[in-house]
């Protein structure tokens, strides 16, 4: 347990640092990330360029500093939006059961039945690659899983005698939901959220890598990864640097989620991880 706590703290620190650096990129980066300098292309690590330069002579270190901004922001916004959609639908279905639940579950099943990547490619393909369509693709592919977990949790809490006890006191469905049900599942949702963040980040990275996500010349880790492909043998650091960053963020979220799960309720939350 102590080891896990330390890992969690380390992950949180690591993530905090990356977020801080991304926020402050304009002030700490030594070069303009989009400054092309063809006379200095594909340079190795040096004092002037800590991480060398890419095929257009742009400073890799500056691009790394900037590279998390789009991915992190988008995955944050998209995950929270996914959560909101899934949460509302899950709570409604779980609480009211019956016809409401049947209708909602049918929609959920349809969305869960389509393979995620296929649906994302279809959405981005139809709408054209942009941040908006990327956002839409993420929310539409992930909300269903969320809503199922939330629905399950609500159903589990809802049969607790104290909920019925509150109903006997004359509480409305709305009161029970706000005062009793939502606080009880908040922990589960928080864990789900952090673990999902990591998934979303990887989704964005893979779409960008396929050329359907963040578009060049925006400095972005996944775009850099894609750009560096032809030079893997000669200049491996061009791929390593953004790769390490993506892995670090994704892993940090994962570890934080794990730690939170253990801390909040070791027994009850085990299931969340299996689904997320």
């Amino acid at each position: 347990m102590i080891g896990k706590g330390k890992a969690g703290a380390f992950a949180a620190g690591c993530l905090g640092l990356i977020v801080f650096v991304s926020l402050c990129a304009p002030w700490i980066s030594p070069y303009d990330p989009n400054q092309i300098d063809m006379s200095n292309r594909l340079m190795s690590l040096s004092a002037a360029h800590w991480m060398g330069t890419d095929q257009l002579g742009r400073d890799v270190y500056s691009r790394i500093l900037y590279g998390g901004r789009v991915s992190l922001l988008l995955s944050g916004v998209a995950t929270v939006s996914t959560l909101l959609v899934g949460f509302c639908i899950g709570v409604l279905g779980g609480y009211f059961r019956g016809k409401v639940d049947t209708c909602l579950q049918t929609i959920v099943h349809i969305f869960q039945g389509v393979p995620g990547l296929t649906m994302m490619l279809a959405i981005v393909g139809v709408l054209g690659p942009s941040l908006k369509s990327l956002f839409l693709a993420i929310v539409l592919t992930s909300w269903a899983d969320f809503s199922r977990v939330v629905r399950g949790e609500v159903m589990k809490i809802q049969v607790e005698p104290y909920i019925e006890g509150t109903r006997v006191l004359g509480a409305s469905a709305f009161y029970i939901m706000i005062v009793h049900i939502i606080p009880s599942i908040a922990g589960t949702v928080l864990v789900l959220l952090t673990i999902r963040m990591s998934r979303t980040l990887l989704m964005i990275a893979s779409l960008s890598f396929l050329g359907l996500g963040v578009q060049p010349p925006t400095p972005d880790w996944s775009v850099m990864l894609n750009d560096a492909r032809p030079f893997l043998r000669t200049q491996p650091h061009l791929m390593l640097a953004p790769g390490i960053c993506i892995t670090a963020v994704s892993l940090s979220f994962q570890i934080i989620g794990d730690t939170l799960r253990d801390r909040l309720d070791p027994k009850r939350m085990q299931r969340v991880e299996d689904i997320a």
Binding site: Y162, V168, L169, S184
Partner: protein, 256 residues
């Protein structure tokens, strides 16, 4: 005071062909004001389902429930709110009777939040009064549910029900999860409070001894139907239905 007219509740099951099974089948009974009506039967006989329908928590598929002249399931919004206040229920499991994330004070305050008209000046005075009535220190309310015993929780739930000023309380095996000495205390307390507040009880149990001691009249339930009703004395001494006879017999063998 409470009339239950021919209520039924079904469950549907089956994968291809839907089949119906009655949990409670065409059952009627009535409870007079001020009495304790015992409901006895084995697990799965439909006692809890019947009582939940009687108190307005579960809409019956057929039949009607009338309380103090109002039809429970077709009363107007305002009337239902009033009825809700007059009918309370104590549940079986003390360990889950209060929200584990809230202090007992927060739990016991809920009647005030939900029905502001119940407030009569000082909340704490009112709470102290009901806490004294159930024989607990008000300081106990600072704790969380897992920090107090099952017997104490049941007392607190009872205190909370008393804050609502109910006329009718359903006691769904309130003591079956408690050990015998605590059980006796709670039952005595319930009787005492009933006298003091002139309340009507529907007392559910599978323990013949307890029901007999608590109740004025007893109904015996089997497979979703009430098979026999009578004063507790009559049920114990001269049971007529074969199931009741078996029940009384078994009881006499095991406990005497």
């Amino acid at each position: 005071m409470l009339q239950v007219h021919n209520v039924s509740k079904y469950i549907e099951y089956g994968l291809v062909r839907k089949r119906k099974k009655a949990i409670v089948n065409n059952t009627s009974f009535s409870i007079q004001a001020g009495e304790t009506f015992g409901l006895i039967g084995e697990s799965g006989s439909g006692k809890t389902t019947l009582s939940r329908m009687a108190i307005g928590l579960l809409r019956p598929d057929e039949g009607a429930v009338e309380f103090a002249g109002y039809d429970l399931y077709s009363a107007s919004r305002g009337d239902s709110k009033l009825l809700r206040q007059k009918m309370q229920m104590i549940f079986q499991h003390p360990d889950t009777a209060c929200n584990p994330r809230k202090t007992l004070l927060q739990s016991i305050m809920e009647p005030f939040v939900l029905h502001p008209t119940l407030r009569k000046g000082d909340d704490h005075e009112q709470i102290e009064e009901v806490m004294n009535m159930v024989g607990l220190q008000p300081e106990l309310l600072r704790r969380y549910p897992y920090q107090v015993s099952g017997g104490q929780i049941q007392r607190i739930v009872l205190a909370r029900a008393l804050l609502m000023n109910p006329e009718f309380i359903v006691l769904d095996e309130p003591t079956s999860m408690l050990d015998v000495s605590v059980q006796a205390q709670i039952l005595r307390l319930l009787k005492h409070i009933q006298k003091q507040r002139k309340m009507t009880y529907l007392f559910i149990s599978h323990d013949l001894d307890v029901v007999n001691w608590m109740s004025d009249r007893v109904a015996v339930m089997k497979d979703g139907e009430i098979v026999e009703t009578g004063t507790s004395n009559k049920i114990m001494k001269h049971p007529t239905h074969p199931y009741t006879q078996k029940l009384v017999q078994a009881f006499l063998y095991t406990d005497r």
